[in-house]
Amino acid sequence: MGNVVERQKNILDFTLSSLLRRRRKNLALALVYTLVVFLLASVMFFAYAIKKEASLLLQNAPEMTVQRILAGRHSPIPISYIERIRDIPGVSSVKGRLWGYYYDPVVGANYTLILPETEPPEKGTIRIGAGVARARSLLVGDTLEFRTFRGEIMELEVREVLSPESEIVSSDLILISAEDFLALFGGSHELSTDLAVRVRNARELPTIALKVAERLPDTRVILREEILRTYDAIFNWRGGILIIILAGAVLAFIILSWDKASGLSPEERREIGILKATGWETSDVLLMKFWEGLVVSLSSFLTGILLAYFHIFFTGSGLFAPVLKGWAVLLPEFKLIPYLDPAQIAALFFLTVVPYSVATIIPAWRAAIVDPDSVMR
């Protein structure tokens, strides 16, 4: 056993000094390798963490939203519908919600205005997202001007800037009172934007949705699960687009690594001949080449993963956030909470480390099975 370990150590020792001898070639290879792993891992980390974050945020959203449809479009829903939904067995609560979008021509951005379910702001005041505060250089106590649906100017005082913890959804948010919302957009106390429905048992959701649709044929029901699926699809799609763009880089890497790793130089062939002539077995040569491939690929893989982790979770994904985060004008500045999917890391490992190791072993095997007397000629 001791012999086996010593043999591995001795061969690994020679492998490392071999790698150092071809420093330039191996460094170039490791650099490109690290870059490819970094880019792929960044996309994967980002897409996974953002989907995870979106799903966590939606956990507190109502299981079901009911919207009124007029001529195929979303229109305000009468408050009277609340009672007709509340009667359905299994429904625990129904609340009317007020929300809408406001275009601010000063900065060319869209804000999302919402009347919060609990603790609404006092009349004449608002709570704003960090993105809005940044865009308009607002501090607590400042006022923000709006133009109402009548064309009048309405000034609202900023009482609070929302915590940047989950800025991806709160960046462009303005929390407003019901009175100010109606004064800004029009409408009446008899109408809501939509209805938030909570149920006692999630398994009954499809049945309740069906009953809502039967009772109120001019509405449509949106389930939280559907929103989650939409988020997944959007971020998967964006991640996919980036991966397709990166595919070129990956392909170039495969060609480069195949060429560098698989093409043994005459010098390397001669060395393998010397090793065999002086008493190395074919398996010893293969072990050396295996270590060589593993050292290059594993160190590049780990460096790439660490750099990607740092890039996504500490530097706000600077390189490709504009593609992945979306089309909002107020790009949120936020830090994603690190969520890693072990299956994805394993997939990346098998797609990079394993092919590289194989690419180095095959030519070494071809050279290693040559009769050692070739070195004498």
Binding site: G2, N3, I274, G279, M376
Partner: protein, 227 residues
């Protein structure tokens, strides 16, 4: 008797239009603790004969026995083991690995044996010291002079403490002084009970008093010993 060849024949590209018979039915007996020289012109088959004896290739037909063991039909793995334990090689072009130190080059053949690194290093340093190249232990081999490289090669050949030293044209690239130094070293190894087999067409080698037997190889055929 340490090495015995019976009707050993080596054919390259057998069955093809470029078939070439390098050795024709060689019969040879090499005694232990003696210096044997195979002489002959270039292309006479000296290197092929050494590679058969050194377990680097197999004969096309015939038998080879080393230390009373038939090796002609051994699988590669066992052949390598016999090669590592029985032979130390000194090649015509030194065949040292560039970019690593003289010390590492000497240690290299013993790496797969699984010997502890520290004890292996000590043995290698002792050998370098024995041949007067200890100060060059940490030097890259491409920085060594011809004589130093030759001595490092001899140290490498001895690292596995082999029974037989096989040298192929060892003086081909050495001047007279270094060639004589090489013969002197071989004399010391013979005195240390090593069996030595040299292929050479250099008279400094086969005229040397340390040589016990000289065979002439011509066109792949071995003639009676001339000494």
């Amino acid at each position: 008797m340490i090495i015995e060849l019976q009707e050993a024949r080596k054919v390259f590209h057998q069955g093809k239009p470029n078939e070439f018979v390098a050795l024709h039915g060689i019969n040879l007996w090499i005694e232990a603790c003696r210096v044997t020289v195979i002489k002959g012109p270039s292309g006479s088959g000296k290197t092929t004969l050494l590679s058969l004896i050194g377990c680097m290739s197999r004969p096309t037909s015939g038998r080879i026995r080393i230390l009373d063991r038939e090796i002609s039909s051994l699988p590669e793995r066992f052949l390598t083991e016999v090669r590592r334990e029985t032979f130390g090689f000194i090649f015509q072009h030194f065949n040292l690995i560039h970019g690593i130190t003289a010390l590492e080059n000497v240690m290299l053949p013993a790496y797969p044996s699984g010997e502890k690194y520290a004890s292996l290093k000590k043995r290698a340093l002792d050998l370098l010291d024995h041949f007067g190249v200890l100060p060059k232990a940490q030097a890259k081999v491409e920085k060594l002079s011809g004589g130093e490289a030759q001595r490092v090669t001899i140290a490498r050949a001895l690292i596995n403490d082999p029974f037989v030293i096989v040298a192929d044209e060892p003086t081909a690239y050495l001047d007279r002084r270094l060639a004589e130094e090489f013969i002197e070293t071989m004399g010391r190894l013979k005195a240390g009970r090593k069996t030595i087999l040299i292929a050479s067409h250099d008279p400094i080698v086969w005229d040397s008093p340390i040589v016990d037997r000289v065979y002439l190889l011509r066109d792949g055929r071995l003639e009676d010993p001339v000494k």
